[in-house]
Symmetry: C2
Subunit: 400 residues, 2 copies
């Protein structure tokens, strides 16, 4: 069985967390100086581990194992959300590195660039799986400071460097480790999550058009209040969705904007950003139909025409059954009775890898379920246990 | 009876509308170059009419009539909302000027500065009625470009000029003419509104505090969604207020802000600007109690603590019965059967004048009920009829 060095894993995680250290977390946006330094540091660690290290033309980090036979691809991502946690992404990188060291030949490691979306949407894993073209790269820019992606790549010394794409037949599969980012494991005393599917996210922009008017002189009966129309729709969603949702469905109104947004003016226009997530296509279809029914009903009975615009409808990504079995077997070996099969409510690079090879994910517990915040954390004990389970599962998958 | 020159009234209104002309309306913010020029032009018109014209240290324009006996104070305001209508304020100024010309001695005219609130809240009429101190003037600045009020006054040549305050015993009352800004008159074919009271505005900021979290990994049962808590409160207000409101009560949510306002983040904080208006103190008290009850209930049953902050609670201003009778008698003379007693849903300087003397207001119809927009308008016929009724009422009040 793969011999994991728990102290080494913790040491490497802590060293990676020095790049962009922020309070007890990190601030390491894609292609920031700290992020570029972290990528170079990681290439050095890969080479120390006997892998052939490189960074490709989209910023993906690779450590390739030599030798014959189909390999297991490991890894996650190196950059962080702004002022966020030290383990989100980093955990999967160091576990992959440890698997290469502990399991030996046959384990490749990858760090998918910009999973956190500072420039785009999963550009690293989409580039590797053939789903990102040069036109899109030309168009993308940093969402916070506006720097074009091309300029950021040049700053990182990657202008003109080829982008690496998946080599057919090289891999038996991809296994990504990640913190759970929720509280399912921690609140049940469980230790390992075996991801069954990565949920789809269906994102909508709903707009209502009313009539901007004076809030004092316009009688209630004459008003066409776009804000009130949206409040009524959201109240109906709140009433209906629990009846139609699956056990793990989530739905969220992230933003409500009323125009012009002044205390004494009836809103003439309103906009809502609304999304739901589930791993079950039937649930997604049912909620989409209900949302459209509620908007139609509002248009039939209300006085503010509403429009619904689809901003994104990803597909659920099912995880490979054989790799899930390897993770579960490894989990039951090291944490008997503390393994749970569960969907991932967050998006991950594994959802794109799943399109070109068998893919799976393993979760470790998140203290308080917190993520995307610098207080994100996992106990040392769980970090070491997770590394052991992960490396064991990679070895099983490699030899299975 | 006062002999009104309808053509002169229309000509003066149109000339005033050339100061800051914007499409078919005007853009004449307080102390803009156009506004200062309009004030000076108006002083000239007052002097042509035989009044003693001046501008005081807060920017109020005055035309004072000589001779003995208690006088009637007329007027309204000269500046406009941004990119707004040509009659809002201007109508009452030109009607006042016409009353001085048509009725003769005993009619004073005033243009209250900044009724539209570019710098503060009714600073002109509050200065005249003794409700504005120098400290407040020191603190106020333009809401759009930040220029301190003191600098704007200096730019207008008014630094160091004394502020005029009401002279005890000089007036029998104040009568302000204004466009209705609603559609009550126009939609009923009526011509003259006699204002019974100016409504009070009770303005609130309601905040909910939840827990910012990941919209994919945080189960519905664990969420503390500040946005959803506010949507539920607003839906309850929408359900309960119609049962408790008076026939003319209005209530408005002008702004909803969710923090951080991102599609995939559960709002950790939300804020709503909510107001209601009525002329009846009992209704105001009832709605305030209900709003507080709903917030208390949300705090008892919900998971996101809410706070309610009073931003303003003005009092209803009752209009003087004798002056209302003068307006009604004049209205019935020139537009028999087309006069309506009604409250004003908008605030006006008359609500401050009412604190120091008998005060009244007269409305003319607004086409489409539109105001605070450059398409605001009233037919020439209604403008001339309104001038006749107004001047007749001023004469009756003066001699009554």
């Amino acid at each position: 069985m793969a011999k994991v060095d728990g102290e080494r894993v913790l040491r490497d995680l802590r060293e990676l967390a020095t790049f962009g250290a922020y309070k007890t977390g990190v601030h390491r946006p894609t292609f920031s100086d700290e992020d570029i330094a972290a990528r170079r540091w990681f290439v050095g660690k890969l080479e120390e581990a006997g892998l052939q290290g490189s960074i490709d033309g989209i910023g993906n980090v690779y450590g390739l194992s030599d030798g014959p036979g189909a390999k297991i691809l490991t890894g996650s991502h190196i950059e962080s959300q702004n002022h966020a946690g030290w383990l989100d992404g980093a955990l999967g990188m160091i576990y992959g590195l440890e698997a290469a060291r502990a399991v030996g030949r046959g384990v490749d490691v990858a760090g998918w660039c910009d999973e956190e979306g500072h420039f785009g949407s999963f550009i690293g894993s989409r580039s590797f799986t053939g789903l990102l073209d040069d036109d899109e790269i030309d168009r993308l820019a940093n969402k916070y400071d506006g720097m074009p992606l091309r300029d950021a790549l040049a700053k990182a010394g990657l202008a003109g460097v080829p982008r690496r794409q998946v080599e057919p037949g090289r891999y038996k599969g991809f296994i990504e480790a990640h913190i759970e980012q929720g509280d399912t494991l921690i609140s049940s005393g469980l230790k390992i999550g075996v991801v069954t599917a990565i949920v789809a996210i269906w994102q909508y922009r709903i707009t209502a058009t009313g009539e901007q008017n004076h809030a004092g002189t316009t009688s209630m009966s004459r008003r066409r209040d776009a804000g009130l129309a949206l409040v009524r729709l959201l109240a109906e969603i709140d009433r209906r969705f629990p009846e139609l949702a699956g056990p793990r469905t989530v739905w969220t109104t992230g933003r409500i904007t009323l125009d012009p947004g002044a205390p004494s003016i009836i809103p003439g226009r309103g906009e809502v950003l609304f999304q739901f997530r589930d791993a079950d296509q039937a649930v997604l279809d049912r909620l989409d139909a209900e949302l459209r029914r509620l908007v139609d009903e509002a248009n039939r009975t209300g006085r503010c025409p509403m429009e619904i615009e689809v901003m994104g409808q990803s597909r659920p990504a099912l995880m490979d059954e054989t790799l899930q079995a390897a993770l579960e077997a490894a989990g039951e070996t090291h944490a008997p009775g503390k393994v749970l099969r569960m969907p991932s409510g967050a998006g991950h690079d594994a959802q794109y890898l799943a399109r070109v090879m068998p893919a799976a994910m393993m979760f470790v517990p998140s203290i308080g379920g917190i993520s995307h915040h610098w207080t994100e954390n996992t106990s040392d004990e769980d970090l070491v246990l997770g590394a052991q389970v992960y490396c064991d599962a990679v070895e099983r998958a490699l030899n299975g």
